[in-house]
């Protein structure tokens, strides 16, 4: 059993009457030399690392390599506790996603999902949903297989890195993965999951990759928060409309790929355009904070 696009995946799920996550777990079992249980356990480890990355982000004293971000997640959570959320799940999940990017930028341990630059989106959504709605560990692990199915289809048929396709390929894909995973957790059908995923990419279509100083900090951190909110909106839309969509998932992926190829070099992770070229930041140097061996001076930055 294998599937190479969303249409085939959906047909398989509907024929077998199974979820996207179940289809992806079956695919992995067939491809690998491991048992279903071993694969499930391996994904449980990834969930554990995601949870840990959210937890660590709430500790003080993280120092970022570039020093362009830091403390934003804590500020959001503090406001959330004192004044309440502007928008329910979205506020909490965004705060967590931003926290994971802080952990990532301080050389902490994260799960690339699908990349390190977009690594906040899935843990943000899943850990916040777990806290708010009490999903079981089993459900959350399966949600990661669901997300993996969507990410696999994008990686196979387009691209998932900012250097290749811009932020739309990176946070766009993470957002699609998060939308689909949340949709399944909320009881959505495979059709609704793929509609949510397609919408998530379509909403971010064209977004460029323009990291300040070339580092995975800003604007990446806030774009992870945006990826979370976008995913949640797309899940709600798909659930409310029964996955009704004008353009099917595969065509959205194709459109994203085609747009990605036409994004100029300066806007694909080279730090030559967009936010990276803005006057206030274009001559900034990374702080390289947290450098354990005082290499800043040795490197002539101090």
């Amino acid at each position: 059993m294998n599937f190479t696009n969303g249409t085939a995946l959906l047909a398989y799920c509907e024929k077998e009457n199974i979820s996207l996550s179940e289809a992806m777990l079956r695919r992995e079992t067939e491809l690998s030399e491991c048992t279903r249980e071993e694969i499930f356990e391996r994904m449980r480890v990834s969930l554990g690392v995601m949870r840990e990355s959210v937890r660590r982000s709430q500790e003080s004293g993280l120092s970022m390599l570039g020093g362009f971000i830091g403390g934003e997640s804590g500020a959001l959570l503090a406001r959330l506790r004192e004044k309440g959320a502007v928008s329910g799940l979205s506020s909490l999940a965004s705060a967590y996603a931003m926290g994971v990017l802080e952990v990532n930028a301080s050389m902490g341990r994260i799960v690339a999902a699908p990349t390190a630059g977009a690594s906040g989106v899935l843990p943000g959504i899943l850990v916040a949903a777990e806290e708010k709605y009490g999903y079981s560990e089993e459900e959350l692990v399966m949600a990661l297989f669901n997300a993996g199915a969507v990410g696999y289809l994008v990686a196979r048929n387009a691209c998932i890195s900012g250097a290749q396709g811009g932020c739309q390929a990176e946070v766009g894909t993470a957002s699609a993965m998060g939308a689909s995973a949340l949709c399944e957790l909320m009881g959505g059908t495979p059709r609704e999951c793929l509609a949510a995923a397609g919408d998530a990419i379509a909403n971010i279509l064209g977004l460029v990759c323009d990291p300040i100083c070339g580092l995975v900090e800003a604007p990446c951190q806030k774009r992870n928060a945006m990826g979370v909110s976008n995913a949640i909106i797309c899940t709600e839309i798909a659930l409310a409309t029964g996955g009704k969509t004008l353009v099917p998932f595969d065509e959205v992926v194709e459109a994203m790929y085609s747009v990605g190829k036409s994004i100029p070099y300066q806007l694909r992770e080279t730090a030559l355009g967009g936010m990276a070229a803005a006057e206030s930041v274009r001559n900034r140097k990374p702080a390289c904070a947290g450098c354990p061996d005082g290499c800043q001076k040795a490197r002539g930055w101090a």
């Binding site: 050389m107 341990r109 994260i110 690339a112 990349t115 990410g151 290749q164 730090a271 290499c295």
Partner: protein, 223 residues
């Protein structure tokens, strides 16, 4: 090309901040360290393209050094790899190349190693995104493999019959070859075989290959 696994998408578990500039860089150096036999005394990293511009802020330097020492991409010791390498008596140098060569992948590194016996090994690798890599040169000879499979790297004299000998060992030991490619410096001189295999091999396969005529070295590169 290997099928994309769910763990290529939800993963790797890694020390940040960048799958290409940190985890991918480390994986190139991990293979380099294995090819050098794990006894590296001094190492020089020549960084190209995006690597040369942003390597400090991505911890690429620390990740490369950690890879030479055999750490995996999720190992917290990556942060302290400079200090650990000094403790172990490994000399290291980072050499960013300013000129842009558009024919090269933007995330490319040359790793030049000298082992305890003074033997030199060099390797060129590219980090192609999401932590995936390609090794494109060994000791100046163009090669191509990705580290997605367990692989056997054989250095041999370019003589008739060597490949047949290698293949008969693989047959005898029931090792299934997924991909096999042969590269050489000049006709009749030194050649390299990269054999990517399904599953793994026991050390007796490697030992048997080493005893074949015209074989200079055999390295097992576990993925």
């Amino acid at each position: 090309m290997k099928e994309i696994s769910v763990f290529d998408i939800i993963g790797p578990i890694m020390i940040g901040p960048s799958s290409s500039h940190t985890a991918g860089a480390l994986r190139i150096a991990l293979i380099a360290g294995k090819i050098a036999g794990g006894q590296v005394r001094s190492v020089r990293f020549r960084l190209y393209g995006s690597f040369s511009k942003t390597y400090q802020g991505h911890g690429t330097d620390r990740a490369l050094l950690a890879g030479i020492m055999g750490f995996d991409p999720g190992d917290y010791r990556i942060r302290d790899s400079f200090a650990i390498a000094k403790e172990r008596g490994i000399d290291f140098l980072f050499d960013p190349v300013e000129e842009i060569d558009v024919s090269m992948h933007p995330n490319t590194v040359d790793i030049l190693m000298t082992d305890e016996q003074g033997e030199k090994t060099s390797l060129r690798g590219c980090s192609v995104g999401g932590g995936n890599i390609e090794i494109v040169q060994i000791n100046g000879v163009n090669v191509r493999f990705t580290g997605e499979y367990n692989a056997i790297l054989i250095t041999q004299n370019d003589k008739p019959g060597v490949l047949a000998d290698i293949c008969s060992v693989m047959e005898e030991k029931k090792v299934n070859i997924a991909f096999m490619r042969v590269y050489r410096e000049d006709k009749g001189s030194r050649a390299y075989s990269v054999i990517e295999i399904d599953g793994s091999v026991e050390s007796d396969v490697i030992e048997t290959l080493r005893k074949l005529p015209n074989i200079c070295s055999v390295k097992y590169l576990a993925k």
